[in-house]
Symmetry: C2
Subunit: 462 residues, 2 copies
């Protein structure tokens, strides 16, 4: 009886509103925000909405146009906020959040040999990377990263936690010449990579990758084997490249070639390859990277804090190399906030070039979104708010005193916004954080587990 009444009432309501054309019901509408699309026209909609159905964006338009055409089963009000594509971190080592601030302000070799290597040798385990990945995922969701690129040990464990948290990841199993926590030999690591890649083949969120650590920590045969495995499995390759002057020196002494040229001589380079850092590059190196369609991950904060140098970002971009942004691991930086990476990229290149027009705010935002997607070979589905792309997006508050007044939303995103201003994070159409409440992780437990694991780290370096 009640059910009949409800049905009749619904029918009456439909009949009573004949002026409204039939609206398509979708899973979610993010409504009434300033929508910064980063689409090819770089459209900014002053009062816009995004209609999402399932995992995909179905429409991006003025709030009125979306309200006329779509009805969301769920609606998130973004009035007074800015709606942007989710940020794409093109280089990190997620579980290293458990080492953040363990040892700062040291010469590189002291830092590695007295702290990071001993801590890793004694603590890194499947449980360590699970606890660390959950902490990193919590931080990334809270600060607006929706896709991240990783390189660490036990990458299959990282993938499972990443997927459970609802984040998207291009996750690289590390290959390295010496014994490490998850493999005694590079051959073991390569075998581990293959198992990992098969487990997550065609996964909607996880893209497995092979991550030969660097040209100075691997011999030529293992570098070639890594490339061959990637080609055979059709997965991306992640490698550190020319991060420090020491790496270049080592390469020159050993091979009489720059790191880039040495890897070129092995036939290592190819598309869907992500080179992290790219600090010390010659014009010839840049030409190789452009010709081979290698993407570069620029990590301004890590490069500054570790005094590695300044990547030639403007020269790379001018040569046609795609450059995204990364935070690097939190042992180097010490956080995973991509808003800081954007601001730092803008600041750094103005300083070094002596030109305040270098890396303007719109370029910094592109590097953290659509260019990052391009670095990962995922620009067809990620990096901008466009119909048909995956629904990875953020609602970012602009209400603080620090953000008042607002003349230009893109300037504000780069120059005065922090990760903490992100209110809502959506990946693949799923709301991972809503109004600062993370829905896919038990925050309190994640933090408690991390603190307990930190006690083991402390003991390891004592």
């Amino acid at each position: 009886m009640l059910r009949t009444f409800v049905l009749l009432a619904a029918a009456a309501a439909l009949l009573a509103a004949p002026q409204t054309p039939a609206r398509r019901t979708v899973s979610l509408v993010v409504a009434n925000g300033t929508v910064v699309t980063v689409d090819p026209a770089r459209r900014v909609i002053a009062r816009g909405s995004v209609a999402i159905d399932g995992r995909d964006i179905v429409a991006v338009d003025t709030a009125d146009a979306i309200a006329t055409a779509y009805r969301g089963r769920d609606t998130i009000d973004a009035a007074g906020s800015v709606v942007i594509p989710g940020l794409i971190n093109t280089h990190t080592h997620a579980p290293m959040v458990l080492f953040r601030g363990l040892a700062d302000d040291l010469a590189l070799m002291d830092w590695l040999q007295k702290y990071i290597f001993p801590a890793e040798a004694k603590t890194v385990s499947p449980e360590f990377v699970r606890v660390g990945t959950r902490l990193a995922a919590l931080e990334m969701i809270e600060s607006g990263t929706t896709t991240y690129t990783d390189m660490y040990y036990f990458e299959d464990e990282i993938a499972r936690e990443t997927k459970a948290a609802g984040l998207r990841g291009v996750l690289g199993q590390t290959i390295i010449q010496f014994p490490v926590p998850d493999a005694k030999t590079p051959a073991e690591s390569l075998a581990r990579t293959e198992r990992f890649a098969r487990e997550f083949a065609n996964d909607d969120l996880i893209t497995p990758a092979v991550a030969p650590h660097a040209m100075y920590t691997l011999d030529a045969d293992t570098l070639k084997a890594s490339r061959a495995l990637a080609d055979r499995l059709n997965i991306p390759v992640i490698i550190h490249l020319a991060e420090t002057a020491d790496e270049v020196k080592t390469s020159q002494e050993k091979y009489k070639l720059s790191p880039t040229a040495f890897l070129e001589s092995l036939g290592f380079w190819g598309p869907r390859t992500i080179a992290a850092h790219g600090v010390h590059l010659t014009p010839e190196d840049i030409a190789v990277l452009a010709r081979r369609h290698v993407g570069v991950s620029h990590n301004p904060e890590s490069n500054m804090k570790l005094a590695s140098g300044t990547a030639p970002v403007e020269a790379l971009r001018k040569a046609g190399v795609t450059v995204g942004l990364g935070t690097d691991g939190a042992a180097s930086n010490n956080d995973l906030d991509m808003f800081e990476a954007m601001r730092q990229a803008a600041f750094l290149h103005k300083l070094v070039s002596g030109d305040p027009r270098a890396i303007p705010a719109p370029v910094a935002l592109e590097m953290a979104t659509i260019e990052g997607a391009r670095v990962l070979g995922l620009e067809k589905t990620l990096g901008s708010l466009e119909p048909g792309k995956r629904a990875d997006l953020l609602v970012v508050s602009m209400a603080s005193a620090r953000q008042t007044p607002m003349f230009d939303p893109v300037s504000h995103l780069v120059y005065v916004t922090r990760g903490d201003d992100v209110r809502t994070t959506i990946v693949n159409g799923r709301v991972l954080m809503r109004d600062r409440k993370v829905l896919t992780l038990e925050s309190r437990q994640v933090l408690a587990d991390a603190r307990a694991m930190a006690d083991k780290v402390r003991a390891a370096v004592r």
Copy 2:
């Protein structure tokens, strides 16, 4: 009857606890935090408290020792948080928050001539600086600045708003050669400065100052008159110094001297003088600043964003020049967050020196606290948590994922903390913000007034 019972109950309670020695009642205890004192011994108390009576700190000790000796009429629990001295911003132009993000990524002259100068000419008024100062004060209280150094127009209006908000300020009335919103001539500005200085003589929060803008915007007579006024009134002097290569060029062309040497030739330098920026300095300039006990305000974010260059901070410190940190005005930076200034100082000098040990976290924190106090000549009363000093302090949360785990509170303050992590801000013993609620300003009205004023700014540059 009830009152008698309460008195009897209180007496009984006192008698029932004879084992407790008499505790001194004080106005406020900030209890159970990790106390980073920045005192001469750089003491960090893992679980400590600060006892405050009236405007002063009376004791800084372990939580147990304070609990035994003091009873606070009010108590703020800082468990799980870090307690630090309030941050000291040694250079800003507070009302310019109303221009933040108005025009970024431009060549300096375009920025000034197309945007900032027209906007200032058409909008700066007593009402403008009041609205802007309230917005800046809100942002500073929210981000942990307790003392700031200003240089702008209508500085008496700024002083009144600063005092009403409860902040401490060293506030410099601008002197400039050409007509400006608050004076047609430098003589008018000097007269205004004298009235302002007399109004706030011996004020507990406001230190009036004279602020000759720069050597390139003033003639020799006005520079000398500014110094003479400061000496007569016994007030500090604030000046921009060697911010850009252009300033040095102008000085060399006009006087065949560096800006520092030109000012030295006028007898301009002396103690209680704050030189903002100090980017382009020769070793001889540095020797002059050291000999004259001039304090330098280093503004790493502004210098990077405007591509001004890198101040020789390590050389200045080595020569014995005191160096504090500043944000510069929000038209340049674009915010007033001193945590960002600390991080940026650490990052910038590591990069430029090529040494990851440059400006380590403890030095960045010192520059934002005790060294900042020294730059202002206020180190006897400000800049560290010590008995007898003014109670200017912060409770800073360390609970976020981004700050987990914590191995070293000083590293975390510099490398992963934002102004928004400040929970409680206390100036002169008065709680200005408690658990993120600002008590001395009507936040909503302050933001609404700022947005309304921004409409006038938009119209001015259209």
